[in-house]
């Protein structure tokens, strides 16, 4: 159950960061609604943010393993 709480907290943090980063990337002048190009941009940005998260996460794990081996 603790693991589940961590997973939920992690997902929330991810969603918060993605919202901020993708708003900054995609909404240059906030209008009266999200137009379709903004929506597409947000969806794409979200996918790339998760790609980035996965890459960063893998690089970090590999590095930690290497550091442990070197100790």
């Amino acid at each position: 159950q603790v693991k589940q709480q961590i997973a939920v907290a992690n997902a929330q943090e991810l969603l918060t960061k993605m919202t901020e980063k993708c708003f900054k990337k995609c909404i240059h002048k906030p209008g009266t609604s999200l137009d379709s190009s903004e929506q597409k941009c947000v969806a794409m940005c979200m996918d790339r943010y998760m790609d980035s998260w996965n890459l960063v996460s893998k690089a970090y794990s590999l590095r930690i393993q290497r550091e442990r081996t070197n100790m």
Partner: protein
């Protein structure tokens, strides 16, 4: 997210000069900024939930 954080974010997005009052363009920007931020947040949250369901094979 708290009002403080929305205001922090949308202030940086919308307010350039600080004169005797906020001009109407800035006011509109601030109001739209809050609404669009919530739109983006909902869009991302819903899409994330869909991706989770898809990857869970439901």
């Amino acid at each position: 997210m708290q009002i403080h954080e929305f205001n922090d974010f949308c202030w940086d997005k919308c307010v350039e000069k600080t004169g005797n009052k906020l001009d109407s363009k800035t006011e509109t920007c601030l109001t739209n900024c809050v609404d669009r931020f919530i739109d983006v947040s909902l869009l991302i949250t819903n899409r994330f939930a869909q991706l989770l369901q898809k990857s869970a094979g439901i």
